[in-house]
Each structure stands twice: as structure tokens, then as C-alpha cells.
């Protein structure tokens, strides 16, 4: 007997209902450290953050100083080379980490929290809540964030706030939609129905059963979005809509290197590497988090 193409409720195998609460006996950080990739990710991230905070101590150069020879390849005096205005690249990447990391993490965190809440409410309750929330999401999705950025800059001037608001809004609908999609499926699961029949409140069901199982794609989305957030900030800065022009950010450094690619490969490669390493570490952590939260494991 072959299973039919579309799994119909009647042909679904019985899934063992999950225990209503399953607190892990081991403390969280121990679980985290058991996973090798998570450990690597954590170490990497800590290194990056430390480097960011102690940037002035690590590098003797001033990130704005233009007095060095231009377009020098990596050497012993300039670890990652210099750019077209004679600035030390390593220093700029170090200082740039502050804003890029901040933007990357804060915007995604904001989007995630708001978006997930919207998604759960929307998917779980359905009805008019779903309609209103999802139509708002539609509206925001169809509305180009670029204009919002222009508007924010016009009202508040350039700065970190604009970037955070504009970029958070950009990712909000993704989180809302993915969450909603997952919740739509999950709310029909038998363990949810079972829990409800046992008298669990909506809030309990949403938090204990639905959310943990919906988290996997959300986490992946979050880790991917960090990278996009950093790059989005670059686009905004490039168009004059980002943070104050004096501060270097990774995305901006990459963007400025556009006309020098053939002459100075290091200008495009190293900031890109920095972004990649950050994203990698966050991603590993995210993977591990998902594994831990995956209570079926």
C-alpha cells in the first residue's frame, strides 16, 4: 500500500503526543557547549565582539586618518592593506564592526520579536485578527522601504535610528509570514488538540507547543537576515540614508571598493570575510539553538 501523495489527516500515522512540559534537566549552557559547531560559533562571536570593543587598543591607527600610502596590499605595517584614501583597512574593519554588528543584531532581534508575535497571533487565532495583521503585512511588504528611509532621514536626519527602523521594517514581514505559515500547520497537530482538550490555555499552547516547533525556520531566517541587515545598511549609507557618513561600516567599505576591484582585491575581500565570519558564528549558534529546542531529539 502506497501512501497517497497528499497526506490526509486520516492517513497520518499517530504521533506520540508530547509531554506538556519537558524541562531539560541540564542547564542550557552545558547543552550548548556539547555541540562542537556551537562552541566554535560562540568563540568566534565572542572574539569578534571583544575585538570590536577593544579596537583602539588592538590597532595603533586612526580609522579616519588618510596619511598612509594609498592602495597598498597587505603587509607587515598594514595587515590588510590600505584603501584608496590611504586609510588602514584593518582598523576600519575593526571600528566598522561596532555599527555593523549592532545594526545586524538589533534590527533582526526587533523584527523577530515583533514579527513572530504577529505571526503566532495571526496563525493561531485566524479570523479577523489574521485578516487585519496580514493585510497590514501586505501593505508594508508592498511598500518600498526605501521611501520610508528617505522620509526618516528627512525628518530625523541621518543616524542609527533611521537605519534600525528602516531595516527592521524590511524584515518584519518575513518573520511574520514564516511564523504564520508554520503555526497554520502546527495548530492542527494532534498534540495541540490534545493539550487543548486537557484544558491548557491558549497562551500556554502557543508558548509551549506551537512556538518551539515553529522556531526552526525562524532561526534560520534570523541568521540569514543578520547578513542582509548588514548589507542593507550598506545600501542605505551608499545612498546617503544611513548612519552619519564619518563612521565606517563593513557594508560601506565593501561598497566603496567597487571601483577598485581589479586594482585592490583586498578592499572587497576582507570586509566581505568579516561579514561572512560574523554570519557564520551566528548561524552556528542558531543551529545549535534549534537542535536544543528540538525536543524530539
Amino acid at each position: 500500500m502506497e501512501q497517497t501523495a497528499a497526506p490526509k489527516p486520516s492517513s497520518l500515522p499517530v504521533i506520540t503526543p508530547l509531554p506538556v512540559s519537558s524541562p531539560s534537566r541540564r542547564p542550557f549552557y552545558q547543552l550548548l557547549l556539547r555541540d562542537k559547531r556551537a562552541t566554535a560559533g560562540l568563540i568566534l562571536l565572542v572574539l569578534i565582539v571583544v575585538a570590536t570593543i577593544f579596537a583602539p587598543l588592538i590597532s595603533p591607527y586612526d580609522p579616519q586618518s588618510q596619511k598612509y600610502d594609498i592602495l597598498q596590499p597587505p603587509s607587515t605595517t598594514h595587515l590588510l592593506g590600505t584603501d584608496d584614501l590611504g586609510r588602514d583597512l584593518f582598523t576600519r574593519i575593526l571600528y566598522g564592526a561596532r555599527i555593523s554588528l549592532f545594526v545586524g543584531i538589533v534590527t533582526v532581534a526587533l523584527s523577530l520579536v515583533i514579527g513572530v508575535v504577529m505571526g503566532i497571533l495571526s496563525g493561531y487565532y485566524g479570523g479577523w485578527i489574521d485578516t487585519i495583521l496580514m493585510r497590514y503585512i501586505d501593505l508594508q511588504w508592498a511598500f518600498p522601504n526605501f521611501i520610508i528611509a528617505v522620509y526618516l532621514v528627512a525628518v530625523f536626519g541621518t543616524g542609527l535610528l533611521n537605519v534600525i527602523v528602516a531595516v527592521s521594517l524590511a524584515f518584519l514581514d518575513d518573520f511574520a509570514r514564516v511564523t504564520r505559515g508554520m503555526v497554520l500547520t502546527l495548530r492542527e497537530e494532534e498534540y495541540v488538540l490534545a493539550a487543548r482538550s486537557l484544558g491548557a490555555s491558549d497562551l500556554q499552547i502557543m508558548l509551549r507547543h506551537v512556538l518551539p516547533n515553529a522556531l526552526a525556520p525562524i532561526i534560520v531566517l534570523a541568521t540569514i537576515s543578520v547578513s542582509y541587515a548588514i548589507l542593507a545598511e550598506a545600501t542605505l549609507s551608499f545612498l546617503g540614508l544611513g548612519v552619519k557618513p564619518t563612521t565606517p561600516t563593513w557594508g560601506l567599505i565593501v561598497s566603496d571598493s567597487r571601483s577598485f576591484f581589479s586594482r585592490a582585491w583586498w578592499l572587497g575581500v576582507f570586509p566581505g570575510l568579516a561579514i561572512m565570519l560574523t554570519v557564520l558564528s551566528i548561524n552556528f549558534l542558531g543551529d545549535a539553538l534549534r537542535d536544543i529546542l528540538d525536543v524530539r531529539n
Binding site: 501512501q3 497526506p7 500515522p13 504521533i15 493585510r135 501586505d138 511598500f143 518600498p144 531566517l221
Partner: protein, 315 residues
């Protein structure tokens, strides 16, 4: 279901109207006067004449009503710059270019992404998983223009296989059209294939651990069938969501790629319009994109129900 679709269509129209209205007023609230910029090269005394000709001397709400009436009739107005080419025409010429680029990029990103994600999940922690994961990380960390320039340097300047820039319409022939689109589609599509690979992998991993998969396995069904028929299908919910999202993001990623490869698509039209404060061009482009996105979203919701028939919007 039909009632649901009808309701959604009505809501879609309302959302599109809301987007258009918001854009209309926001544009005029933002500093930057297109006429003054136009006159930077020209006679300040003709400011009033030009404003009158373009209808910009009316109070804002009057302009809005005109705009509403014209838009409903399909007339998106005229560009404020140059020979005041009709916005319909500007968009009509730009859309096929972006559509070609985005579609090709979409196909590439999906084919590659899904395949990579499935393989990665099935062979979790193997060498191929590590390689694909690594490639995916590179994919999502590099900006589109970076990839585009590298592709040009390698394939156009270095190997001389493909043209570096430009666009040829389909009427010029399949190969001219395709050869100009391959590099930009790769530049736009590869970063997304990386994202799709990650999400697919994660979703597949979830599903592969489900009990019904183990049940199917224990029944002796072929592994490939299990993966493709059952696992992938159930993993598709988040993937389909991403499909819907990625179309929109592809569009905005296309802007950067369009710039690098000198393709005048809708993305560039829009950005240039915003920079120039060319109101009708911006309004028209955004409306078109909004229509596209909102109805795509509706399609995604309908596809959800096809994948998982337990989902019922009516309850």
C-alpha cells in the same frame, strides 16, 4: 475557498489603494523639489509655467484626486523630466527587462537552492554538507554587486564567454537575450539560492526526524521516494513562504544587479525616480510592484492549502 479568494481579492485592492495613497502623500512630504532641481540648469522664471503645465501648482488634495481618477482609468501620468514621456511607456519598457532577469534568477536560485538544501539535509554533517553550507555562507554574505563584478571580470574580461553589460530584448533572438542575462541572473540568484538552501536544509531536517518518515522507512519504501514525496512536500511550507518573500527581495536585489550590468529595469527606474523626486514615475512603479506582490502573496496562501490540506482559513 472561492469566497475566501473573493474576499482576499477585495482586500488586495484596498491594500494596493492604501500603498498608492501613502506613497503619494509621503513623496510630497519629503524635502526635495523636482522643479527646482530641474531648473538648476534652466530659467527660474519658467518655474511657474512648468508647474502649471505639470499640474503641480494645485493644492495637494486636488492633485491626489486627479491622480486617483487617472490611475483608475489606467493613465499613470507623465514623467516630470525630459520630454515628459508617459509613465505607462517607461514602465512598459522597463518591466520586461526586470521580469526576464528576476524570472531567470528565481529559477536558478530555486533549482540550486532546493537541490543543495535537500542534499545537505539528507547527508547531514558529511563533507558535501560542509561544502554546501560553506558555499551558502559565502552566498549570503556577499553583496549582489560584488558578485556581479566578479562574474564580469571572470566571464567577460577573462574568459570572454559572455558580454559584460547590456540587455537585448527577446525579439533580437534567444541567445542574445539569454547571453546578456546569464551573469546578472547569477549575480541576483546565487545569494538567494544560498538562503533557500539554508531554509530547505533546516526544514528537511525537521521533517526527516518525524515519525511518519521512520514509519515509511520501516515499511521498506525507497529512500528517494521518501525524500522527494513525503519529506520535501512537508518541508515545503516554510520554503514556499520563502519563495513568496524571495520574489520581492529578488526585485530589490535586482536593482543593484541592474545597476552593475547597465540594464534599465523597473528597479532602476524606481530608484532614479525617487532620487529625482519624479512623482508620477515613482507612484506608477510602486503601484505596479504592489499589485504584483500582493497577488503573489495571495497565491502563496492558496498554495499553502494545496500543500497541507489541513490548513483551513475559514475556521
Amino acid at each position: 475557498m472561492q469566497r475566501y479568494i473573493a474576499r482576499r481579492v477585495l482586500q488586495a485592492v484596498i491594500v494596493i489603494w492604501a500603498v498608492g495613497t501613502l506613497v503619494f502623500f509621503m513623496l510630497r512630504a519629503v524635502p526635495g523639489d523636482p522643479i527646482q532641481a530641474l531648473l538648476a540648469d534652466v530659467d527660474p522664471g519658467s518655474a511657474d509655467a512648468i508647474r502649471a503645465k505639470l499640474g503641480l501648482d494645485q493644492p495637494v488634495h486636488v492633485q491626489y484626486l486627479f491622480w486617483l481618477r487617472n490611475t483608475v482609468q489606467g493613465d499613470l501620468g507623465q514623467s516630470l523630466y525630459g520630454s515628459h514621456v508617459s509613465v505607462n511607456r517607461i514602465i512598459l519598457e522597463a518591466v520586461p527587462r526586470t521580469l526576464s532577469l528576476a524570472t531567470l534568477a528565481f529559477v536558478i536560485s530555486f533549482a540550486l537552492g532546493l537541490a543543495a538544501g535537500v542534499v545537505s539535509a539528507v547527508k547531514k554533517y558529511s563533507l558535501i554538507d560542509h561544502i554546501l553550507t560553506f558555499a551558502a555562507f559565502i552566498g549570503i554574505s556577499v553583496p549582489g554587486f560584488w558578485l556581479g563584478i566578479i562574474l564580469i571580470l571572470v566571464f567577460s574580461v577573462g574568459l570572454k564567454w559572455l558580454p559584460a553589460i547590456g540587455y537585448e530584448p527577446l525579439s533580437e533572438g534567444i541567445w542574445p537575450w539569454l547571453s546578456h542575462l546569464i551573469l546578472p541572473a547569477l549575480a541576483a540568484g546565487l545569494p538567494f539560492s544560498a538562503a533557500i538552501a539554508r531554509i530547505t536544509r533546516s526544514a528537511m531536517l525537521e521533517v526527516l526526524q518525524q515519525e511518519y518518515i521512520m514509519v515509511a522507512r520501516s515499511k521498506g519504501l525507497k529512500e528517494r521516494k521518501i525524500i522527494l514525496r513525503h519529506a520535501l512536500r512537508n518541508a515545503l511550507i516554510p520554503v514556499v513562504t520563502v519563495m513568496g518573500i524571495s520574489l520581492a527581495l529578488l526585485f530589490s536585489g535586482a536593482v543593484v544587479v541592474e545597476n552593475v550590468f547597465a540594464i534599465k529595469g523597473l528597479g532602476r527606474v524606481l530608484i532614479q525616480g525617487i532620487i529625482n523626486r519624479d512623482y508620477p514615475v515613482v507612484e506608477g512603479s510602486i503601484l505596479l510592484v504592489a499589485v504584483f506582490l500582493v497577488f503573489t502573496n495571495l497565491a502563496v496562501d492558496v498554495v499553502y492549502t494545496m500543500i497541507d490540506p489541513r490548513i483551513d482559513y475559514e475556521s
